[in-house]
């Protein structure tokens, strides 16, 4: 059931005292359409995205440069280590050569005779196994 329409006096009573007519110099307000709100948000997001992209790009560039610098630095280090390795291998070879020279038969005989006073044996005794039970 539909209610009966209110009378004009009733409508005035309803507006008073809160109702005030608007000032004529106030800019006109309007309801912003949702479409406009969305475009503004998209523009803001786009700017944000561009900024982030630029940041990422710049960071990547810095990272790239940094990585290259590190690789170059490691390359220097690698060259140095290879030099050390080569040097160590050379030292090893020389030491090995020294060991071989020091252990040569000629040198051992020389040291035995001149420094240790050793002489060739005049006789050599061989011990042979004795069969079990052969001795009383």
């Amino acid at each position: 059931m539909t209610p009966p329409p209110a009378s004009p006096a009733t409508r005035n009573a309803q507006r008073s005292p809160a109702y005030r007519p608007q000032h004529p110099s106030r800019p006109p307000l309007r309801v912003v359409p949702r479409r406009e709100l969305t475009q503004e948000g998209e523009r803001r997001r786009c700017r944000l995205l561009l900024g982030a992209a630029a940041l990422i790009f710049a960071s990547t560039m810095f990272a790239e440069v940094g990585a290259h610098a590190m690789v170059a630095q490691e390359q220097f280090r690698l060259v140095q280590l290879q030099g050390q390795l080569s040097s160590a291998q050379t030292t090893r070879q020389q030491l090995q050569q020294s060991v071989v020279e020091l252990s040569s038969p000629g040198r051992i005989v020389h040291v035995a005779e001149t420094q240790l006073g050793m002489t060739p044996p005049q006789q050599i005794t061989y011990l042979s196994p004795v069969p079990l039970g052969s001795h009383p």
Binding site: Q94, S104, E113, I124
Partner: protein, 587 residues
Amino acid sequence: MLGIIAAVFLLLALRLVQVQVLNGGRYAAYGQAETASSITLPALRGTIYDRSGNVLAMSVARETIVGDPHQVADPRGEAARLAPVVGVAASQLEKLLSENAGFVYLAQQVTPQVADAVAKLKLPGITEKATEGRVDPPGSLDQAIVGSVGIDSQPLSGLEYQDNKLLAGSTGEEVVNLAPGGIVLPGSRRVSRLAHAGDGLLLTIDDTLQYQTMQALQAQVASSGATYGTAIIMDPNTGAILAMANVAGGANGTARPATENYAVTRVFEPGSVFKIVTFGTALQDGLITPTTTFSVPNQYNVGGALFHDAETHPTEQLTATQIIAQSSNIGTIKIAQMLGKGRLAAAISNFGFGEPTGLGFPGESWGIVRPVWNWSATAIGSTPIGQDDAVTALQALDMMNCVANGGYMIRPSLVQSVVAPDGTKHAVAASPRRRILSTTTARTLATMLEQVVKVGTGVNAVVPGYTVAGKTGTANIPNHNGTGYAPGAFMATFAGFAPAQHPALSAIVVLDRPRQIYGGAASAPVFATIMQDALQRFGIPPSSAGAGSTTVNGVTPAAPSAPSSQLTRQPSPASGAHRSPAGGAGG
């Protein structure tokens, strides 16, 4: 205006496309070539070891100092600073640095320390070039066998030459891009070909025994005034060469290690050592026994030529054993006549004379054997006593090995195994043995050869405590012009093995033109010395060793001079069984 700018940009864009896209590869290659540098990756040459793993030859880093005279403004000043560092006379360096050339060698094969010292001088036009040096640590004792390599590692002689393909390996290649300062650009290093190090060789040679043999031979060559001497010690059961010494005689009784392996490169008429062929074949064919008796006059006519024994004697009745023990030429000729020319010639070939031994050593001679169709009327007299054919010392010892090992011809060997760069060893396959004499014949002949050392011409080859079998040889040396013999020039030889009934070692000693001309006087004492050393070295117990103890005098009768070599190792007697040097079963 905008149109002009756009046109310029369009042209630039087109040029960019041309450079980057259309011709990009070509320009990239140009750029690469500007900075790319190819580096040869050296392959380390394999090491040569003795049978115990002692190094006989190894490669070490060396540097070569080179100069570019065009860049040297002050040759005298640079030479003066460089001379004390590299050890080359300043005047010589100045001369080199003053040459109108872009490259001169200033010092070769210097140590890295010397090269570093040169680099610190920072002399304009002087640079160092890395290279490889081959060193022979124990000295020159094994040089005739091991051989040598040149400054650029090219093989020149010996095993270095023979087995160069194994030893050399293969070089690799690396391509890098270099910055102007010589720094390798990051990520540019790429190996286009890998380097493979050379294989090593594990020889059959025993370094200590080689030293002992060298000492004994050197002393005898010096004291006897011989032109040269060679000695070989082998394991007759495997063919492994345990020592191979070569000594060159000098003026005023001096002797020095030789760089030539006389044992395989020099041939000589073997003399009476060759009688083994005649006796072995006659025994094998059943024509004689050790007790077969022959009437042996002082002289004997063969084909119009008069043959005689070394010493004048009346006609004697000698057994075959006595003939070989006394080394009677006439008795031997009579046995050869029983064999006949064809059979004797076949036997000579069968024993490996006139053929390669199989060692394959560079410069090895096959010997000179006259074919039977070319024998003269007197050849049946001269050939069986070792006067027509020429042999190497190794061939003569191979013949003796055949008697020692029970009748087999075995290929001699110097390389035991090949050592891969990772250390794994690959044994060299043994060649099949070829039977020449029956076991019985070989044993019978060994018993007869024992008499040579006991009562015959080889008494100086006695090794106290051991039974020794062997044969002396004294042969004329032919004139250089090919006709007749050089007066007073003889080759003195002794070849034998021990212990006689269970042979574990064999040896030969050959001296060229010693003052004591007879093999029994000049070579047999050296044989006794080196055989005694070898028997002790490999712990082979005395033949007379029964239960209990056996004392053996260390001094060999008539030894040329007591070699100091006996210091090197005390024997470790095996318990009863004879031990082969190669670890296999002896005799």
